[in-house]
Amino acid sequence: MRFAVPIFPGSNCDWDCINGVEDVLGEEVQPVWHQTSNLDGFDAVILPGGFSYGDYLRAGALARYSPVMESVVNAANEGKLVIGICNGFQILQEAGLLPGALMQNDHLQFRCDFTTLRVENNQTSFTNQYKLGETIEIPIAHGQGNFTCDPSTLKELQANNQILFRYAGTNPNGSLDQIAGIMNRNGNVLGMMPHPERAIVDWMGSADGTRLFTSMLQAWKENQGAA
């Protein structure tokens, strides 16, 4: 399985994601400069966290117009697995691949901490290695992770089981419906504020993030087998 990790000016979790894929899966993973507009040959894309373009204007807004985003949109439309973590989630929303918006945290501060998440759907390409309702420890680090959307969008997300992760403890940012991560209708694009790549070895404080990566590999293999 080949992973692409686009790097925007200001991305700073790019290498964490690359190391994560290598350490957990040992699969091929490549950094892709934001000016590249071709992602053919990759099976999955990880939009990393950080502060693309300094998070100026709105987090993710300026990155959305980087050339690489066109091919990310194409990859998503082709059904490839795309995951946006933290800033990557914000970019996916700005690009219209995921609904809603991430506003400033309700307490107005940046927040870095471990959070407890509940896995709300384990029948997906990103969560098939988790148990339904399982709680996992994954860190957050963001100033704008307060998920919001209009009531009809929320209903749809709930009805279609698109909410994959909710904050199970205290809501760390004011997110609507405790939402920590959502998937698109097709099930191949995930956006989440918590950082699974920061929870892959015990000394990091948790290894619960590993199974997100192994889930993706599993889904891809099944898909290969089916094809």
């Binding site: 373009y53 300094g54 100026y56 204007l57 300026l62 117009y65 980087s66 309700d106």
Partner: protein, 95 residues
């Protein structure tokens, strides 16, 4: 009720990194004519009073002490009369 519309802008010689980044993005998007971008704030403060003079005084002090940072920013404001129903209701309750 009175509503103050307050504009807070960066002082001229203060760097506006955000403005620079937005300008560069607009260029990348093809808007080469964009010569400059500066980003400031616009605040609406609704006051439950009809005393215009007092309101002006209060708003000025609020701007100086809390709403703007006199080291880096300038402010201007205008005050208008509004009726109750015009006020956005979504923030009326506290956190």
């Amino acid at each position: 009720m009175l509503k103050a519309i307050i504009f807070i802008t960066l002082k001229e010689s203060v760097l506006d990194p955000q403005g620079v980044a937005v300008k560069n993005s607009l260029h990348t998007m093809g808007y080469q004519t964009v010569a400059d971008v500066r980003i400031g704030k616009r605040l609406e403060v609704v006051l439950d009073t009809m005393d215009l003079q007092k309101a002006e005084e209060d708003i000025r002090i609020m701007c100086e002490k809390l709403l703007s940072n006199p080291v880096m920013e300038n402010f201007t404001f205008e005050i208008e009369e509004v009726d109750e129903s015009a006020i956005c209701s979504s923030n009326l309750s506290g956190i």
